[in-house]
């Protein structure tokens, strides 16, 4: 009980001391808060992004077959479907009609896709899917930049530069915006007309298999039987994706590291810079009967209050920055994506591990570097410390 009272009094004194040196401490809190905000933004962003990517890939087809002509992706004849359907282990073969559409007015790229049974994972929809010619459904990003809503009309230019219009019947509010943000969904007939796809041709073919383990075998067989095709397995998409993501997270990592360097410099400065006034105070406290451990406790509380305040505010700012504001400060790194995703909203996934990591990066080193010089002063004879 006596010990509790003793600790609480030292804590009281620590808080009083923090306010006493409010200018210095406020500047430290501001710097550390900013640092935590940057670090937490990067951590939140990377994690959330990864989670969405995982969700996206879970919905991706196991095997897609494209035709390659002169090294370029070309339309594939629907006749190929019959050949593939004959292979053992293939359960379904579905043609897909899609393409990228560049919208000059909004300076953005959209993915236009024909609706069919291969379009899966688009469950969450406001309104409904297009069911007849002249109807469309939009990703929320498209709806946002073109100021469209259910009941309004979307105008697109076809390959002969004629204006076509579609009535908006549904909007994807899918949580995973990475998947649907830039999407325009039309009926199959409409998309064939828009992109001028000749009948009997498709953009690519989705192959469903009975047993996932057989995918590489079936892919190999397609490749040998139909030499001008390129089968793409989900695992390959994953690799491409990871390369792309790896590059981006590399950028992030370098930002992360430079923040860390800044942090260390500041920490070092703090470690070596116990002001004459602070030293004298330690000497006074010792002279009036404070033990070394009391002084260390005082400095511990001071460090804890300051770094915890910075850590909590910084983490909250990072959270708001990434999940409410769309990470504008990370946009130099995200430029590639922001064309694709006019408005970049990530779903808040919080990883407790990251919070703990952040805690160890911010709070522990700060307390350590503030305690060490105080400890050096506190173990000296008071006479020596006071005289400096």
């Amino acid at each position: 009980m006596d010990q509790m009272i003793r600790h609480s009094k030292i804590l009281d004194f620590a808080i009083m001391s923090i306010f006493r040196r409010r200018l210095k401490n406020l500047s430290i809190v501001i710097v550390f808060t900013l640092l935590t905000a940057i670090l937490s933004s990067i951590l939140f962003f990377t994690h959330s992004f990864k989670m969405e990517a995982v969700g996206l890939l879970a919905d991706a087809p196991e095997l897609i077959v494209q035709r390659v002509s002169g090294g370029r992706h070309a339309l594939i004849a629907e006749d190929y479907m019959e050949v593939i359907r004959g292979f053992y282990g293939v359960s379904d073969v579905i043609p897909r009609y899609w393409g990228y559409y560049f919208d000059r007015a909004t300076d953005s790229n959209y993915t236009v896709m024909g609706i069919n049974r291969a379009v899966s994972g688009l469950g969450l929809l406001r309104g409904r899917l297009p069911s007849q010619e002249g109807e469309c459904a939009l990703g929320s990003g498209v709806a946002e930049v073109k100021h469209l809503d259910i009941g309004k009309r979307l105008y697109l230019l076809d390959s002969r530069r004629r204006v076509r219009s579609y009535r908006v019947v549904g909007i994807f509010d899918t949580l995973s915006r990475l998947l649907t943000n830039d999407l325009i969904l039309l009926t199959e007939d409409d998309i064939k007309e828009l992109f001028d796809i000749p009948s009997g041709m498709a953009t690519d073919i989705v192959v469903a298999v009975n047993n996932e383990l057989e995918v590489p075998y079936i892919a190999g067989k397609i490749k040998t039987t139909l030499p001008d095709t390129r089968p793409i397995m989900r695992s390959e998409i994953l690799q491409t994706y990871e390369t792309l993501f790896g590059w981006r997270s590399g950028m992030m990592l370098s930002m992360f590291l430079s923040s860390l360097v800044a942090f260390s410099i500041l920490a070092w400065d703090k470690a070596t810079g116990l002001s004459a006034e602070e030293r004298r105070e330690i000497g006074i406290l010792k002279a009036v009967g404070w033990e070394t451990s009391d002084i260390l406790e005082l400095k511990f509380w001071e460090g804890l209050v300051i770094s915890l305040t910075s850590f909590l505010t910084g983490t909250i700012i990072g959270y708001v920055h990434v999940f409410f504001l769309g990470a504008p400060l990370l946009s130099p790194v995200l430029k590639g994506w922001s064309v694709l995703f006019p408005s970049f909203d990530l779903i808040p996934y919080i990883n407790p591990y990251q919070i703990i990591t952040l805690f160890f990066l911010i709070v522990i080193p700060y307390i350590a570097v503030t305690i060490i010089p105080s400890w050096r002063a506190a173990i000296m004879d008071p006479d020596e410390v006071i005289r400096g």
Partner: protein, 231 residues
């Protein structure tokens, strides 16, 4: 007098030992201080008074020799035991006061009581009665920096007294005071002495050592004791 309270045997103190700027501040000091005695260390500036006072008050350690306080050889004790002795036995009034200027008077007086098991309300009460005793209660919630020299001196004494120490050590207590204030301070010290407290004063102010309230006066010069006068 009821026996020896402090024994000092062959104590020397070197500053910056082994360095080019080595200073010999004290040489072969031997003396005894009795319980309830008032002792003055008198001597010109640089004669080693402050150094001797800090050794007695366990603020520093002798280079050679032995200091025994209440039967314990403090010169050899590890730092944490010294802290304990500092808190329980000594009240130290520094020449430069060593107050924390940007906290209030009452907080300054409370400082020695923080690392104890006493409740916050209790230490505040004790500190405030101490301020009362030294005529500072009206300014209890002012910052220490707002005080005059005489008030700072009284505050420093109040802080030294809040633990009710057996031994009060004062270093040049009149250095920052005018004649009137010095008079007032000496009256105050007389009343503390009447409580039976042991008081050791380092001074080169004739006003203090000619007043005749000390039991013994040690004359210091060049880090040595050159003479003792007393009753």
């Amino acid at each position: 007098m009821k026996g020896v309270l402090i024994e000092i045997e062959g104590v020397s103190k070197l500053y910056n030992q082994g360095m080019p700027d080595e200073v010999r501040a004290l040489t072969g000091i031997t003396m005894q201080i009795m319980k309830g005695e008032v002792v003055i260390l008198k001597g010109p500036s640089g004669s080693g008074k402050t150094t001797l006072l800090s050794l007695i008050g366990c603020m520093a350690r002798p280079t050679e020799g032995r200091i025994v306080v209440k039967g314990r050889a403090v010169s050899r004790l590890p730092e944490r035991f010294l802290t304990d002795i500092r808190r329980k036995t000594f009240g130290f009034v520094f020449q430069e006061f060593n107050l924390i200027m940007d906290i209030t008077l009452i907080e300054n007086v409370m400082l020695p009581l923080y690392p104890t098991g006493m409740r916050y309300s209790e230490i505040r009460l004790r500190a405030s009665s101490m301020l009362d005793r030294f005529g500072l209660s009206e300014k209890a919630d002012h910052l220490a920096r707002s005080l005059s020299g005489g008030q700072k001196q009284r505050l420093a004494i109040a802080r030294a007294m809040v633990n009710d120490p057996e031994i009060l050590l004062l270093d040049e207590p009149t250095a920052h005071l005018d004649a009137g204030c010095s008079e007032e301070l000496l009256n105050m010290l007389s009343s503390l002495r009447d409580d039976g407290r042991t008081i050791i004063i380092a001074t080169h102010d004739p006003l203090v050592y000619e007043r005749g309230f000390a039991d013994r006066i040690f004359e210091m010069r060049d880090g040595m004791i050159r003479g003792v006068s007393g009753r």
